[in-house]
């Protein structure tokens, strides 16, 4: 699949096509970023992959009651963007949200506990995979209704602005959500008020079964930024450093009071939409083609080629992440189920 990248030229509010994300900036980032940061990025990407593979495994073994939406193949998007944040910054995201949650620092054990519906889970077994929130950790939750988190993001960012906070918010949604009315209302409002939020489109190219080319008459979601008078950029979502670079610039834009940006992180979902998906709408060749572009393999190679770390270092990180996911899943299965006795407790706050 041929992919074009574009950038909205703010001076004339015109979309111009650009060839591809320039490699030299990745090279520059490799030398500028501290090694710990790069290690952190690879660790989180591996953890997300292994968490989701393990989640799938638990599901196949019949240990999971509900559904799940896997982001395997999209790890560079969540990690590359959240890597730009300060610890106190916030995120709000969507049903395919394991990646953002792990990147924002959640415990794999408490995530598995929620996935398995246990009382110890992040939402005490009330939310499940689709709604994991870690409020103290700055993860203000995953919304299951497509696009539903975007208007809420406006309010979160509004509170930050009214309180004169230095914090910013990353608001994630999918390519399908960019066709919702809520997307339009929210980007218009946020840009009008110059709110400190970065809108990030986790563009995996399919809204359930519908390829983006069948549901929008533009090439790139980022072109929509022009109608809100905000910067828009499509980046290679399989290149964690390209995502990092684009989101960091948008962060600075937001933090300095200049308002939101729209970053379109173009990647691909390897797995089906959810457990019911039989992949009838795409070919195995297409899926295999994108698997060849694996963001984790790619980042590992970049790190080794640039001599940031050895291939042994890289494989150690990989193995450690796998062991952490396995251990977390085992531990979570030992936690007790919630009791129906206090079911109504948290419907209303006191």
């Amino acid at each position: 699949m041929n992919t074009e990248y574009c950038e909205v030229d703010m001076t004339v509010l015109k979309t111009k096509k650009i060839d591809k994300v320039a490699m030299p900036s990745s090279q520059r980032l490799l030398s500028e970023l501290p090694r710990e940061k790069l290690v952190w990025m690879l660790q989180r990407m591996c953890e997300i992959r292994y968490f989701e593979e393990k989640a799938e495994d638990l599901y196949v073994r019949g240990l999971v009651h509900g559904t799940m939406h896997l982001s395997i193949g999209q790890e560079a998007g969540s990690v590359g963007s959240i890597a730009t944040l300060r610890p106190e910054d916030l995120i709000i995201h969507h049903h395919r949200g394991h990646g953002h949650t792990i990147a924002k620092g959640a415990s794999l054990t408490l995530m598995f506990a929620e996935f398995l519906g246990r009382e110890a889970g992040y939402c005490r077994g009330r939310g499940g995979s689709m709604h994991i929130a870690d409020i103290p950790g700055g993860n203000l939750g995953a919304t299951g209704v497509v696009g539903g988190g975007i208007p809420t993001a406006v309010g979160i960012a509004l509170a930050l602005q009214m309180r004169r906070s230095d914090q910013i918010l990353l608001s994630y949604f999918g390519d399908g959500a960019s066709n919702e009315g809520e997307f339009h209302e929210s980007l218009n409002m946020a840009s009008t008020w110059k709110l400190p939020v970065v809108f990030i489109c986790d563009n995996n190219q399919y809204g359930m079964s519908m390829h983006r080319s069948k549901v929008m008459n533009i090439e790139n979601v980022s072109e929509r930024a022009a109608s809100y008078g905000i910067p828009g950029k499509t980046v290679d979502g399989n290149d964690v450093l390209a995502v990092y670079e684009a989101v960091l610039a948008a962060d600075e834009h937001a933090r300095s009071g200049q308002g939101p940006s729209l970053i379109d992180v173009l990647s691909y979902r390897w797995r089906g939409h959810s457990k019911s998906d039989r992949n009838l709408y795409r070919t195995h060749e297409e899926i295999d083609g994108w698997k060849q572009k694996c963001p984790i393999k790619r980042f590992k190679k970049v790190l080794v080629d640039a001599a940031v770390m050895t291939s042994d270092d890289v494989e150690d990180i990989d193995k450690t992440a796998k062991a952490a996911a396995d251990r977390a899943a085992e531990e979570a299965q030992t936690f007790p189920e919630p009791s129906p006795e206090n079911l109504e407790d948290e419907v209303y706050a006191l």
């Binding site: 939310g127 709604h131 539903g148 406006v154 309010g155 509170a159 929210s186 209303y348 706050a349």
Partner: protein, 333 residues
């Protein structure tokens, strides 16, 4: 409620006074909605507030009811106390995803680890010739959504005390303001006070029959009661004031006393809140005291029409209540 500082003001002024007093007290309270600034709101409720509080806290918005509801929900999630004004209750249809799927659910869905302290102020009801899309009473939808509270005051004093309670409540509260009540005058204490949600009030005492009514139906029921008193029928009028949570005790006590109950609301009868009230009464100890079937008088199952005569015949008027109550008072005797 009456104190030394009590004076006559309108329902509209009482709503404004509640907001102004709370905004002076708590800088996290702000008002957000369409044309609420210079224009003063479609009904003039926020008139003058922009001058005192500025455009940041009296926040005019684009015509974007979904984003307005989202902006209120998100700010509430952050611990602020937004008051969202929707221009007409009918337009909440455009806000529903944020209100029903986000605001009402987030606390529970996230394991009780956050709260959404916001108020949705919604001018409701018919009687202004605004026809089908600007006249609805949609309370039954919201009452059926766990996580939202629903308040429908019928007097200036109740409007002020309940709105202050709603602003201080840590949950999403739908606050219905009937458009025909805005000009109603009544005694309202000047100082800040709260009327706890879940507190029904007996608006008039009587021995022969109970009318349970809320919002615009309360003044109509009181007028009907006056007329029936001339015929020797003593009507007790109970106003739940808050539909959710519901003070069932006060309602049941009244029905136990009178043995007859008529439930009155403006919203269409089918699936209306009156069905819930009837079920609550029928399932309580009041059942044994009933001398006649529980009766309902409510809006007809039609969209609100434009023509004045048609509009009035779509929802219960004083004469309709008089007739229904008179019949019920005689029933089974």
């Amino acid at each position: 409620m009456s104190t030394d500082t009590t004076r006559e003001i309108t329902y509209l002024e009482a709503v404004r006074e509640a907001m102004v007093q709370e905004m002076r007290l708590d800088k996290e309270v702000f008002l957000i909605g369409e044309d609420i600034g210079t224009y003063g709101g479609a009904f003039g409720v926020s008139k003058g507030m922009l001058e005192e509080f500025g455009s940041e806290r009296i926040r005019d918005t684009p015509i974007s009811e979904a984003a307005i509801a989202g902006a209120a929900t998100g700010a509430a999630l952050m611990g602020m106390r937004p008051i969202m004004e929707v221009m007409f209750m009918d337009f909440l249809t455009i806000s529903m995803n944020q209100l029903v799927n986000q605001a009402a659910k987030m606390r529970f869905m996230f394991g009780g680890k956050c709260s959404i302290p916001m108020v949705i102020r919604a001018p409701s009801g018919s009687g202004t010739g605004a026809a089908a899309q600007h006249s609805q009473s949609l309370e039954a939808w919201f009452v059926n959504v766990p996580g939202i509270k629903v308040v429908a005051p019928s007097s200036p004093a109740d409007a002020k005390g309940l709105l202050i309670a709603a602003i201080r409540d840590n949950n999403p509260v739908l606050f219905m303001e009937h458009k025909l009540l805005y000009r109603m005058k009544g005694p309202v204490p000047e100082e800040t006070y709260c009327i706890p949600l879940k507190s029904a009030e007996v608006k008039r005492e009587g021995r022969d029959l109970t009318i349970v009514a809320y919002s615009i139906m309360v003044p109509r029921a009181l007028e009907a009661a006056k007329k029936l008193a001339e015929e020797g029928i003593e009507v007790e009028v109970v106003d739940p004031r808050c539909l959710k949570p519901l003070d069932t005790e006060t309602i049941i006590r009244s029905v136990c006393k009178t043995g007859r109950v008529l439930i009155a609301h403006e919203a269409p009868i089918t699936g209306g809140f009156g069905g819930e009230l009837a079920a609550v009464i029928a399932g309580s100890e009041a059942f044994d005291y009933l001398d006649a079937p529980i009766r309902r008088i409510a809006g007809r199952d039609v969209p609100i029409p434009y023509n004045r005569t048609l509009e009035q015949s779509a929802v219960p008027q004083v004469e309709d209540i008089v007739k229904a109550a008179r019949a019920l008072a005689q029933e089974g005797r």
